[in-house]
């Protein structure tokens, strides 16, 4: 039985203390009863027999204590070990600080990243039985998860038998009249079963009821908790009051619970029932809803998907015109909510894990070196009577002390890291990720940190104990002993260094690829000049601006005033800003061409005449819009090059006509110009065909004003809002932003930037740790071989050959590390897939660059010990014998 097994047994008893005590008591009681019975059988009186049995047995309490002492850790020696461990760490502050810092960095990063992973991927959604909730939408070849049309939603709800409840919702912007003017507030329109589907009941008032969602029913609204607090003073009497939203009076019927969140659009302040009143909801071919449903018991997501696909196919047969190619998508609600950020979180967790690995390996090597240098001490203590178990316990105590200190500092680092990372998330993005709010070191995260600490403690206790087992204690006492222990450490240390270097290569490659992706993304050819552009979103109240002429008049006025602002060169309106998304699409059909009913899906934007010149977008053929292209003239349209290439290959598109899928006379428009492609979609989306309609012919009550400025675009932003309010005080104006800011703050840029920076940081640390590890091994190896080198030099070896000797050892380790690392790196990069933009997993430039950086750093780190080896004085080295 060796010391370790005994140690573990004691540990087991320590945790099963209660059972140990109960069993001991039972067996002692049994003993006394047996004795008593035999004395009774021998003819003794009952009272005497019991007394005699007890007397013979002795003091049970003291015996129990002695039994516990036999198996327990004596408190006294634990304290001794601990104070010795602390003294050891204090005596060697360099070692202690390095080990604690490395450990804290490794644990801190892992814990911080885990907090995000836990909040996004592990913590269940805050609804009743969240795993039974699914996201239900239509799907198309181009949009695997497209929107749902109202007519289809009604049919799907009626025809399916897989959902116990099926709701739909769509975003809405309201203009809320306040004391200071009209404020744009976000809202959602939801079908009446929405909250029931999620399993959420209102805090105050009532939920929506059947009938609330019929077109023409009295308008009602529910409040978000914070809106109730902020705008209505948290008064209970708010239910029954009316509130004016975009010119319509809504009766407040309820207030939502405080902890209610809805990740897809969490900033919604007002929730109204979904009455099919918008233009879009009257057409089966217009898609603006997203469905959320609760699965019936026993129905799987797959079964529901198959059922919805079947229904979609049936509707496609029934409505071939509007439903051609419209499939169905059903996925878990959490998948729909966190699907986008899952890859980046997993990559970050992987990166942090690798950093923790390298940090642990590094600290292990430090411990090994120390154990090596303490061989004499251990040998002396052994000779003075310390058992191997006692020595092992000393190491374990030191390991635990180290982990406790490192873990404590690590938790502080993790907390700081979480706060910093959270602050980096823009408000716009938080709207989609409410689950990341108020993140901190909760019980779950602490539990994770606890597991890491236990693993680290085991590793750091085992490492020197294993070392102790392999070394012969007696050798420790002999002067200059260079036995098996030295070569053991060299072998073991070398393996550890290879692990470190390989891990560093994986992280460096990951960082390189992500950095390159980010560079590609931010230096993308946008097709327009993004600097010196200021933008602001505007929503017009519907009742007041119901007539197109009113909107057009407003548009002309705003553009005219904006253009004349100081520092503004030109101004324009657009229904969708550049660098937004492949969205707001239209189906087009060409006049004079056979049509087979296929949906030619293109991006559609309505813009005012100066839009293209404001952006500095270039005209390829034909002309731009003019102020004369208004409702009194035949409709005109511009297309981009992608459109021309797709639908007019080898043809001149100018003068060609197109319309909607039915070629309704009202929809017919003539192509008057072709513009060079510029980025309509988000940065990492592909370029789609786009048509630009004349805003003055097809106005929209929600649009963006964009102006080109001579000075810093930021300075113009406040002027824009006041200009719009001068034209109409009822217009809701959102906080403006510059185009450059928009691009930099976009979710795509944010995700790529965060992952590149974080993995870059991990990689930098990994590089330092790996190279320091290599330095440690080589330096130790040189110190062990001083005499050998002395002998070699005495026998005529040149200094250059000594250099070669040392650098060869380092070179081998580095080469193996890099080779293993590169293989791992390509594998890891393949897993990153979606996060890479414009680079391949096996990007030669990055791989070669990483190998070069690591190779050079490694050689630099080994140069110092090599120089020390080469400057060995042979006479001194040999005299030291």
């Amino acid at each position: 039985m060796n010391g370790l097994a005994r140690f573990l047994k004691k540990f087991g008893i320590l945790f099963g203390r209660e059972r140990f005590r109960v069993e001991l008591d039972e067996e002692m009681a049994f003993h006394r009863e047996q004795a008593e019975r035999e004395l009774l059988a021998g003819g003794m009186a009952a009272e005497d027999a019991r007394f005699e049995a007890m007397r013979r047995f002795g003091n049970a309490t003291r015996l129990r204590e002695r039994s516990q002492e036999a198996v327990g850790f004596s408190m006294e020696t634990v304290v001794q070990d601990l104070s010795f461990a602390l003294r050891q760490l204090r005596k060697n502050p360099g070692f202690a600080a390095t080990a604690i810092l490395i450990l804290a960095l490794g644990m801190g990063t892992s814990v911080a990243i885990f907090a995000f992973v836990d909040a996004a991927l592990i913590k269940p959604l805050p609804y009743a039985e969240p795993t039974r909730l699914v996201d239900v939408t239509e799907s198309l070849a181009l949009f695997p998860r497209g929107d749902l049309s109202y007519a289809d939603y009604v049919d799907w709800k009626r025809m399916n038998n897989v959902f116990s409840s099926f709701a739909a919702y769509t975003g809405e912007g309201y203009g809320l009249k306040t004391a200071t003017g009209t404020e744009p507030v976000p809202g959602l329109r939801v079908s009446v079963e929405f909250f029931r589907t999620l399993g959420v009941a209102p805090l105050l008032g009532r939920d929506f009821e059947n009938g609330d969602d019929v077109a023409g029913a009295a308008p009602v609204v529910m409040l978000r908790y914070s809106t109730w607090q902020k705008r209505f003073g948290g008064r209970a009497g708010v239910v029954g009051q009316t509130v004016n939203l975009s010119g319509t009076a809504y009766t407040i019927v309820g207030v939502l619970p405080r902890d209610f969140e809805f990740a897809i659009r969490d900033n919604a302040e007002f929730w109204a029932p979904l009455q099919p009143t918008s233009e879009c909801e009257k057409r089966r071919s217009c898609h603006n809803l997203i469905g959320v449903a609760r699965l019936k018991d026993g129905v799987t997501v797959e079964a529901a998907r198959a059922e919805m696909k079947r229904i979609a196919a049936q509707l496609e047969g029934q409505y071939p015109d509007s439903n051609r190619g419209q499939g169905a998508s059903v996925m878990g609600l959490s998948e729909a909510i966190v699907g986008d950020i899952r890859p980046i979180l997993l990559v970050l967790l992987g990166g942090a894990g690798l950093l923790l690995l390298i940090a642990s390996v590094n600290v292990s090597s430090l411990l090994l070196v120390r154990a090596e240098s303490r061989r004499r001490e251990m040998a002396v203590r052994g000779a003075l009577g310390a058992s191997r178990g006692r020595l092992a316990r000393q190491f374990a105590t030191e390991g635990l002390t180290l982990v406790a200190a490192g873990g404590g500092v690590g938790l502080a680092l993790a907390y700081a890291g979480i706060q910093v990372l959270q602050r980096l998330i823009s408000q716009d993005m938080m709207v989609n990720m409410p689950y990341l709010r108020g993140l901190g070191l909760n019980a779950h995260v602490l539990e994770f940190a606890g597991y890491l600490a236990v693993l680290a403690a085991i590793l750091f206790s085992i490492t020197p104990i294993v070392h102790l087992r392999f070394s012969k204690m007696r050798e420790g006492l002999t002067e200059g002993g260079r036995g098996s222990a030295g070569s053991f450490w060299r072998r073991m240390g070398a393996n550890l260094v290879v692990v470190e270097l390989a891990t560093a290569v994986v992280l460096l490659t990951g960082a390189g690829l992500l950095g390159k992706s980010l560079y590609h993304l931010l230096h993308l050819e946008l097709g327009f000049q993004a600097d010196h552009l200021a933008t602001v979103n505007v929503g017009l109240p519907v009742p007041e601006f119901a007539k197109d002429e009113k909107v057009v008049q407003f548009a002309r006025e705003v553009v005219e005033r904006a253009r004349n602002l100081p520092g503004v060169q030109s101004a324009a309106l657009t229904s969708v800003l550049p660098v937004s998304c492949n969205c707001n699409t239209d189906w087009v059909r060409f006049v004079g061409r056979p049509y087979n009913g296929i949906h030619n899906e293109v991006n559609e934007r309505e813009v005012t005449p100066e839009f293209f010149t404001t952006l500095h977008a270039r005209l390829r053929a034909g002309r731009f819009f003019t102020d004369d292209d208004d409702a009194s003239k035949p409709q005109v349209v511009l297309i981009n090059e992608a459109f021309a290439k797709r639908y007019f290959p080898g043809e001149d598109p100018i003068g060609k006509k197109m319309g909607n899928t039915e070629l309704t006379p009202k929809s017919i428009r003539e192509i008057v110009g072709v513009v060079e492609d510029f980025k309509d979609a988000s940065l990492d989306e592909e370029q789609w065909p786009a048509e630009y309609q004349a805003f003055l012919q097809n106005p929209d009550s929600y649009f963006s004003l964009v102006v080109r400025t001579g000075q810093d675009a930021q300075t113009v932003l406040p002027l824009l809002a006041s200009t719009i309010h001068q034209v109409s005080p009822d217009a809701a104006v959102e906080a403006g932003t510059t185009m450059t800011q928009r691009i930099n703050d976009s979710q795509t840029a944010y995700l790529h930037r965060t992952s590149a920076y974080l993995v870059g940081g991990f990689a930098g640390l990994a590089l330092v740790l790996g190279v320091v590890g290599l330095y440690g091994v080589i330096a130790y190896s040189v110190s062990q071989r001083t005499r050998e080198i002395g002998v070699r030099m005495a026998l005529g070896a040149q200094r250059s050959s000594v250099y070669k000797l040392v650098l060869k050892e380092a070179g081998w380790l580095t080469a193996i590390g890099i080779a293993v690392g590169l293989a791992g790196a390509i594998g890891a990069a393949l897993l990153m897939g979606k996060l890479l933009f414009g680079v391949r997993a096996w990007d030669a430039e990055t791989l070669i660059g990483v190998a070069a950086v690591l190779g050079v750093s490694a050689m630099a780190a080994s140069y110092l010990p090599a120089r020390r080896a080469a400057s060995v004085n042979p006479t001194e080295a040999l005299r030291a014998e």
Binding site: R6, H31, A35, R66, A70
Partner: protein, 112 residues
């Protein structure tokens, strides 16, 4: 009734191991057996068996198992392990050497 000091230090473990070599026994059985075989000369404080048994368990020289007695009572039975057998051999030979040495010293003292 002998007190703890009546036994040579370390001999209790040996006696227990020796007793268990014949057959697995519970604590009371061990005490009884030692008393009977030594013809009442070696009567240990019966309870002190139990700390010793815990020590032996921890060393892995004996193992314990809850079983039913003939009288249908639950009791913890101890069995000698292979390591315990080896340990017993070691202790016996050491003990014999020591007894022999003591014997030699004593006989020498008588002659003087």
């Amino acid at each position: 009734m002998a007190t703890k000091s009546d036994l040579l230090p370390g001999t209790l473990d040996m006696l227990i191991l020796k007793t268990l070599k014949r057959a697995p026994l519970h604590g009371y059985g061990i005490a009884l057996s030692i008393k009977r075989l030594s013809e009442d000369v070696l009567t240990v404080e019966e309870g002190s068996l139990y700390p010793a048994l815990q020590r032996l368990l921890l060393q892995g020289w004996v193992k314990a198992e809850w079983k039913m007695t003939e009288t249908n009572r639950r009791a913890r039975f101890y069995t000698l392990t292979a390591a315990g057998r080896k340990q017993l051999g070691l202790e016996l030979s050491q003990f014999e050497r020591m007894i022999a040495a003591i014997g030699r010293v004593l006989s020498d003292a008588q002659e003087a």
